[in-house]
């Protein structure tokens, strides 16, 4: 007898646990991102400290496992359920209100998954990921202490001042909100809360979390899209560009950047 998740309930419990852990990640991610509203310097330093810590690899591995198991078990359970009724009804009337939210879970999940891939490619692995290419990509930021770090803030601004980009983000965040609206209370239920008071609380919390995370994460693209801030920092970066090139004799190949 092992802990192998050999039944749908076991898988569901894994989906629920990983889902709740993802909430932890989202909360951290959101709080960190709030620094965007404070300014370029704090945000860039925060981002730098986060990514330069060697523990980041462990953290990333854990995140991959969490997301991975959430996705894999989610898909498994969905497929098992799809296969349980191959011939459907001619007429269908459901009594539970807003059942489309439940039914959209695989779809909102897929949107979120695609979004995450895109998000990681365009930010984490986006311009400035490669330290040596930062100058050429215009993604270098010098802190007050003079330390050269990645100018992630600039990247955020460049991306989010593009309305198409921001709107796509907001749509993805709404999908996430819909996902969360069912997910949190569902997870609580899956994990065995039978007490009606707690359960009803979880239902309310589910909606609250959905709203907080959707509005919260959407506020970043919307803020930059609406405010269209001047990228004052860019000049500062350009002034130090030559020095850095000196340090790096051979510049990395220059990619076409949508930043420019």
């Amino acid at each position: 007898m092992s802990l192998t998740p050999n039944t749908n309930i076991a898988k569901k419990i894994l989906t629920a646990v990983s889902g709740l852990l993802i909430f932890g990640f989202l909360t951290g991610h959101f709080l960190g991102n709030l620094l965007l509203f404070v300014g370029a310097e704090p945000f860039n330093i925060y981002a730098h400290q986060l990514t330069s810590n060697p523990l980041i690899y462990l953290a990333e591995l854990i995140l991959v496992i969490i997301f991975g198991s959430h996705i894999v078990t989610g898909i498994q359970v969905t497929l098992a359920s799809r296969g349980a009724r191959k011939k459907g009804y001619e007429v269908r009337n459901e009594r539970t209100p807003k059942s489309w939210i439940v039914k959209s879970m695989p779809y909102t999940g897929t949107i979120i998954f695609l979004f995450i891939i895109f998000h990681i490619i365009s930010f984490k692995f986006g311009p400035g990921f490669d330290e040596s290419a930062r100058i050429n990509e215009g993604m270098l930021y010098l802190t007050m202490e003079g330390e050269p770090i990645r100018d992630l803030y600039k990247l955020v601004v460049v991306r989010f001042t593009n309305p198409a980009y921001s709107i796509f983000y907001v749509i993805a965040m709404i999908s996430m909100g819909i996902h969360i609206a069912h997910a949190f209370q569902s997870a609580i239920r899956t994990l065995g809360v039978t007490n009606k008071t707690y359960y009803q609380l979880a239902q309310k919390a589910s909606i609250a979390l959905a709203v907080v995370f959707t509005v919260g994460f959407s506020s970043f693209p919307l803020y930059f899209m609406v405010s269209q801030p001047e990228l004052a920092v860019i000049e500062e970066v350009e002034t130090v560009e030559s020095e850095v090139i000196e340090m790096n004799e051979v510049p990395a190949s220059i990619e076409e950047l949508d930043v420019k």
Binding site: L3, T7, N8, S81, R85, V91, R95, T190, T194
Partner: protein
């Protein structure tokens, strides 16, 4: 009242089946839904055709054998079972669509009759307390608080009709399975076998080809006796508990909880 009925006809388990329309006049609104179908069947038989096969027995909402999806809702617009539905819930001139339970684990045998033996096999896998006749002690020896009896009843009252499966978008039998797990585990006499019971029943549930639970709670909404979804939560909890317990038992060298 006059009615148009669109009814699923299927010769046998292998037949593809399809809908057939019937017109009925002069149905009393006091008659029950199944009595309306009885009347239709008498007419069909009088015209020399084979009557529509549907199941019913007690016709008072307790045996759980009847079950039709009426206008897209298992057991139709009423609160109880199909046999408890009366024609006063419909209007003169209505068109009513009648389908069988649909789930791969409930194969259709003929017309509106399905095979629900999967439920029996789930109970056989562990839905009981292992007490041989004669070994019981005095019934008052173990006191059971009223609230525990009420909790047990929430699950115990399940009539095994399968509406939960029919209504579930995933054709899951979680509510049925959970009702039995809950019924037995909240009682002191059912606690001894709690781990093997829940594990065996949940595994059998999946083996039968029922889907998973998405916590949509449509099952609770159509359950004719009001079994609540909190039973599913309890089953999940019990299952997780049993898995972890068995894991530690196994690491200590014992694997006692699995038959």
């Amino acid at each position: 009242m006059k009615l148009t009925l669109k009814i699923w006809r299927q010769k046998n388990a292998k037949d593809a089946g399809g809908f057939k329309s019937y017109k009925l006049d002069d149905i009393s609104e006091h008659s029950s839904f199944l009595e309306m179908l009885d009347t239709l069947n008498q007419q069909i038989m009088n015209s020399g055709d084979e009557p529509i096969v549907f199941e019913s027995d007690c016709r008072e909402g307790i045996c759980g054998v009847c079950g039709l999806v009426i206008n897209g809702v298992p057991h139709g617009p009423g609160r109880g079972t199909t046999c408890q539905l009366h024609m006063r819930s419909f209007k003169d001139g209505d068109e009513i669509t009648i389908e069988p339970w649909r789930a791969d684990a409930f194969p259709i045998m003929k017309d509106l009759m399905v095979d629900r033996s999967a439920f029996d096999r789930i109970i056989q896998s562990g839905g009981y307390i292992s007490v041989n006749t004669g070994s019981a002690r005095d019934a008052n020896e173990k006191l059971i608080p009223q609230k525990d009896i009420e909790k047990a009843f929430d699950g115990a009252q399940c009539i095994g009709c399968g509406a939960c499966v029919a209504a579930c978008k995933n054709a899951s039998a979680n509510l049925f399975t959970a009702a039995k797990v809950s019924h037995l585990v909240v009682l002191p006499q059912g606690k001894v076998e709690r781990s093997e019971r829940v594990i065996n029943m949940v595994e059998q549930h999946d083996k039968e080809g029922f889907g998973s639970c998405s916590n949509q709670t449509e099952c609770e909404a159509v359950c004719p006796v009001g079994v609540t979804v909190s039973n599913i939560s309890r089953m999940n909890r019990e299952y997780a508990r049993a898995k972890v317990k068995n894991f530690f038992n196994a690491t200590r060298g014992g694997d006692k909880c699995k038959k």
